[in-house]
């Protein structure tokens, strides 16, 4: 299978928080919501936990860019509609094998976040840090 020829792709995004779904969602031709159902006693709660974006007839790089744009806009819509800020992170993607083909190109991501936070060192006895901690400016 060539990596150069345009193909159909599915990109799977996961939300950073599950969003309660009170009624229902309507998928479109290229976007399918991932719904999680939780049954407690007799009550079933539904949550949106992600979505899959299909990009047709594209090279991987173009398809990924297109899916990122769609995911970013959809993330904003979900945030605005729900009132809960979320992130949508690419979890995995794969090509859709054409008729007669069995192999597919796929990738899974271990690290969901592009922005990494961390502290290399923090010395609370450092004079500058002490000055900030003890400052009381209006």
């Amino acid at each position: 299978m060539s990596n150069i020829a345009p193909m159909d792709w599915i990109f799977h995004y996961r939300l950073s928080k599950k969003i309660t779904l009170l009624n229902q969602v309507q998928n479109s031709s290229n976007i399918e919501f991932e719904i999680f159902e939780e049954k407690i006693l007799k009550k079933i709660s539904k949550y949106i936990i992600g979505f899959k974006i299909t990009v047709r007839d594209s090279l991987l790089e173009q398809a990924e860019e297109q899916s990122k744009t769609i995911a970013r806009n959809l993330k904003n819509i979900i945030t605005i509609k729900s009132g809960i800020p979320i992130e949508a992170d690419l979890k995995d993607y794969h090509s859709i094998p054409k008729k007669g083909e069995t192999g597919k190109i796929a990738n899974t991501f271990e690290f969901l976040y592009n922005i990494k936070g961390g502290i290399i060192d923090l010395d609370l006895t450092n004079s500058n840090i002490q000055s900030i901690i003890n400052s009381n400016e209006n």
Partner: protein, 123 residues
């Protein structure tokens, strides 16, 4: 592109509101007001939001116009202040006071609600 940006602004406004930063929420959401040229005809409390946005975006001292607009909408008891000195053109709203947090949360929440409708994304 502009349409997409407005959704980004409102999404960020909700992010700040959710995380307990109503001042940043108002500042971010007000970008849509400017982008869409909304005014006091189409946005209730337009002048209140605008003067708050100006104060949350720039450090004092402020120009006469900003001080006067603030005094048209609010007074020395509207908020708890770190500094309220109109002669020196310094008005600093205390963003940690519970009274202010409640009031600013109300403003931010109302602004988000109006802009949701404006962007046709009501709950």
């Amino acid at each position: 592109m502009k349409t997409s940006l407005n959704y980004q602004y409102l999404s960020q406004g909700i992010f700040h509101y959710y995380n307990g930063n109503p001042a940043d929420s108002i500042r971010e959401a007000f970008k849509i007001v400017e982008e869409k040229n909304l005014s006091d005809n189409s946005l209730p409390n337009y002048h209140k939001y605008k003067v708050l946005r100006n104060m949350f975006s720039h450090p004092p001292p402020y120009d006469n116009s900003t001080i006067n607009k603030f005094l048209n909408e609010f007074n020395d008891t509207s908020f708890d202040y770190n500094i309220f000195d109109c002669k020196r053109k310094i008005i600093l709203i205390n963003l940690e006071s519970n009274k202010n947090i409640r009031l600013l949360n109300k403003f931010a929440s109302e602004l988000i609600s109006v802009l949701r409708k404006e962007l046709k994304l009501e709950i």
